[in-house]
Structure formats: structure tokens, C-alpha cells
């Protein structure tokens, strides 16, 4: 097995721009798997995820000369991957109202209305709106900080926090850690209709998100 390249990501990208052979390939070795995981968890489809990662590196190769070092190389690559994934999501929606995973996924309401339903984490994630899913996957699954995630997604940190909070609340329901308040609780998609095993639930604040 070859020795790991000791150069930083920035050094590798700079070497690539300077024409040094192999530098960009080292970035591919470093990031292919983690970018594929992000794409897979965003798209829930292995082939689409692989296509998105391939597109990421081709796009990065083309635009490497425009990298100015204002964000980490890791952030830059993840951001390109997010874009590639979102492009695919949009195309799916354009073609047809096709479920993300290519098969029939439960909608959030399905999962919440059925008190006995406990979804797998992957299926529960697939029910989330795109913004929430990307935020919670980057923070809670991939371990990025709020700041890093905000940079990757190009939104404010407060937006990431609120998206994560909503996503976790919805996932808690879908995974069976919280249960709906009662049959007439109304707001199946939010906090107002849910409760834990005891204690009050904060009323929903419709349209009041940051």
C-alpha cells in the first residue's frame, strides 16, 4: 500500500492547479467514499449517488482554478456534491412525482398517523424535506458542525439549527421515540400533535420559522 500523501487538501489542490500530476487523484482517494455516503444518504439510490460523485469530481476538476481558499477544500467538494444531488432530485420531480428511493416510501403523514409504525432510519430520512434531510444528515450522520454545514449548504447557521430541530422532531416520531399526542391532535406533521411518554408539548408555531 502506498504511503499516505502528507500534503493538505489545499496543498494538493494548489499542486493540481500548478500542473502536478497525481495531486487531484489523491483528493479523489481521500473524498470519494465520504462524498458517496453523503450522496447515497441524500438520494437513497446507489447508482444515482455514484453518478453524483463522479460528476462532483469532474466539476471540481473543471473549476479547480477558480478555488480561492475561502472555504476548506472539503467544504467545497461537499457543496458540489450537494448541488449534484439536488440537480438529480429536481430532475426526478420534473420527470414525475417519483419517490426519492425509486420505490414507494411512506410519507411523513403516513408514518405519524400510524402510531404503530416504526421506520428504519433510512426510510425516515427519506420522508424529510430536502433542506431538513441535508442538514440533519450533515450534522448528525456525518458529524459536521453547524458552521460547516451552513457553509456547505449556503445558508445561515440559524437556518441549519432550525432545520435540524424540525428534522429531529419528525424523525423522533417516525422512529417511535415520540408518539402522537392523540387522534385529534391535528398537526400530524409537527410538534403540536405529538408528545413524549409524559409532559406537555409546546404548541406549534405555524409559519413562524426563522
Amino acid at each position: 500500500m502506498p504511503e499516505p500523501d502528507p500534503r493538505s487538501d489545499r496543498e494538493l489542490l494548489a499542486a493540481h492547479v500548478a500542473g502536478q500530476a497525481g495531486a487531484f487523484d489523491e483528493l479523489v482517494r481521500r473524498y470519494a467514499e465520504r462524498l458517496w455516503l453523503l450522496a447515497f444518504r441524500t438520494l437513497d439510490h446507489r447508482e444515482d449517488a455514484a453518478d453524483a460523485v463522479q460528476e462532483t469530481f469532474v466539476s471540481a476538476l473543471r473549476s479547480a482554478h477558480r478555488y480561492r481558499g475561502e472555504s476548506e477544500v472539503s467544504t467545497w467538494l461537499h457543496r458540489i456534491t450537494v448541488n449534484a444531488c439536488l440537480d438529480r432530485i429536481r430532475r426526478r420531480r420534473t420527470r414525475a412525482a417519483e419517490p426519492l428511493a425509486g420505490h414507494d416510501l411512506p410519507t411523513p403523514r403516513d408514518g405519524i398517523d400510524d402510531h404503530l409504525t416504526r421506520l428504519t432510519v433510512a426510510d425516515a430520512l427519506a420522508t424529510l424535506p430536502d433542506g431538513q434531510r441535508l442538514a440533519v444528515v450533515l450534522v448528525d450522520v456525518h458529524g459536521f458542525s453547524i458552521t460547516e454545514t451552513a457553509a456547505i449548504l449556503g445558508v445561515r447557521e440559524g437556518t441549519i439549527k432550525s432545520r435540524c430541530a424540525r428534522a429531529r422532531g419528525r424523525l423522533a416520531l417516525l422512529l417511535g421515540h415520540l408518539r402522537p399526542h392523540d387522534e385529534t391532535g391535528g398537526n400530524a406533521g409537527g410538534a403540536g400533535g405529538v408528545q413524549s411518554t409524559s409532559g406537555p408539548i409546546r404548541p406549534a408555531r405555524r409559519g413562524g420559522g426563522p
Binding site: D51, W76, I80, D87, P129, L153, G169, H177, G190, G209
Partner: protein, 228 residues
């Protein structure tokens, strides 16, 4: 100018997508101990989900290498490659088509030196092809076909009028746009490989012409159909 000018346009839509889910409630009250415990269990599930790493598809790095090699304009590290940004599934399809075409192309390339009609004008005294021009032989059929697909290296035929005249000399419809072009050397003879669509997927007309090809002087080096 930022690092991400390339991507900002796309990311601008992200807020729209994300906001579709941000219009509702703020989520369960994390100050409630039981809710906090449920959220903690949820985050633990997510972390465990991250730890249960599905295997990256075997060969993905190789696919990326080939796509990057194509993007750089260099021969791919191995086997069949494809143009920049192409779908891996498209690459697989192209691989099948190329393999199917290889045997046919081998016969084509092997016969290139004997196809000029006896009364054809003498080949032009074209300049030497540029460095890096693919050197084709009958034993390298797959690379020969791949060399032309998706390229736009028309060399002496770069002028649209001259290209149109050459294509017309070969009976090609005037609105036909080549699927690729590449200056090549076939068994020591310089020419331009034109990959022409046929209207059938994975089936191309491969036309290799002398650089002096012109109306009334097709100077055909080879002309055949490849693929299924």
C-alpha cells in the same frame, strides 16, 4: 469572486427546497425532559446510521479516474472510458457498444490503405498531425473508436464549409452533425476520423478521410458502420 461561483447559482435554489419543510412548527420542545430523551435517542440512531456505512460501489474510483482522464483529454487508465460528466450507466452502455463495434472496426482499420479509388486525386500534402494524435491499428479497435467519440478535433476540416463539402462528397446529409471527430494516424497515414450518427443507438458510421477531402474528392480512407 468566491470559490464557489461555479455553484452559487444552483445553491440558490437550495433554500427553496429546504424552506418547503420549514414552514411549520419549530419541533418538539427540547426543554421537556422526555422530549429531550427522545431527541437524544433519535440522534443516537442517526449516529449509528452513520456508523453502519454501506459499501461504496466497487469500481467507483476507477469510474471517476476514467471520467477525469476523459476530461483531461488523456487516454483513460484502462479499458473503455467516456466523456466528461457522463453517467456511469452510460459508460456501461458505451462499453457494450464499443466492444460490439471493436471487431468490425478492426477490419475497417486493417483495410484502410487499399480503399482509395484508382482515379482519386492524390492525397494532399497535409502537415504532420499534432503531437498526441492517436495512432491506430487494426489491433487497437476499441481505442480507435473511443478516440473519436465526443471529440471535436477536426484538424484540416475545422472550417465548416470545408467539412460540409467533405461530408457532402460522402453523401452525408447536410444537417448531420458528427458525434465526434479526431485527427488520427491509421497505419502510418494521417487522416480525420469522423464519427457520424446513424439514427440507431450505439451504431455509428465511421468515416476516415484524407485531410484533403473536398467536394468531388472524397479521398476516403475508410467508411463503415460499427455497432449493433
Amino acid at each position: 469572486m468566491t470559490d464557489d461561483d461555479h455553484d452559487l447559482g444552483d445553491l440558490g435554489d437550495l433554500g427553496d427546497l429546504g424552506d418547503l419543510g420549514d414552514l411549520g412548527d419549530p419541533g418538539p420542545d427540547p426543554d421537556d425532559p422526555a422530549v429531550a430523551a427522545a431527541l437524544a435517542r433519535t440522534r443516537a440512531d442517526l449516529a449509528a446510521h452513520g456508523a453502519a456505512t454501506p459499501a461504496m460501489p466497487a469500481g467507483l474510483v476507477g469510474d471517476i479516474d476514467r471520467a477525469l482522464a476523459a476530461e483531461r483529454g488523456a487516454p483513460s487508465p484502462e479499458g473503455v472510458g467516456g466523456g466528461p460528466g457522463r453517467s456511469r450507466r452510460v459508460l456501461v452502455g458505451a462499453a457494450v457498444a464499443l466492444v460490439a463495434a471493436a471487431a468490425v472496426l478492426a477490419a475497417v482499420v486493417a483495410s484502410v490503405t487499399a480503399t482509395d479509388p484508382p482515379d482519386a486525386p492524390a492525397p494532399s500534402a497535409a502537415p504532420l498531425p499534432p503531437p498526441g494524435t492517436p495512432v491506430l491499428s487494426g489491433a487497437d479497435g476499441v481505442s480507435a473508436l473511443r478516440a473519436g467519440l465526443g471529440r471535436a478535433d477536426y484538424g484540416p476540416l475545422a472550417d465548416p464549409g470545408r467539412l460540409a463539402g467533405c461530408l457532402a462528397a460522402h453523401g452525408v446529409a447536410p444537417d448531420t452533425r458528427p458525434a465526434g471527430a479526431r485527427q488520427v494516424v491509421v497505419d502510418g497515414r494521417a487522416g480525420v476520423l469522423l464519427v457520424l450518427p446513424t439514427g440507431t443507438a450505439a451504431r455509428f458510421r465511421l468515416l476516415v478521410v484524407d485531410p484533403g477531402c473536398a467536394p468531388g474528392a472524397p479521398l476516403t480512407v475508410s467508411d463503415t458502420l460499427v455497432g449493433r
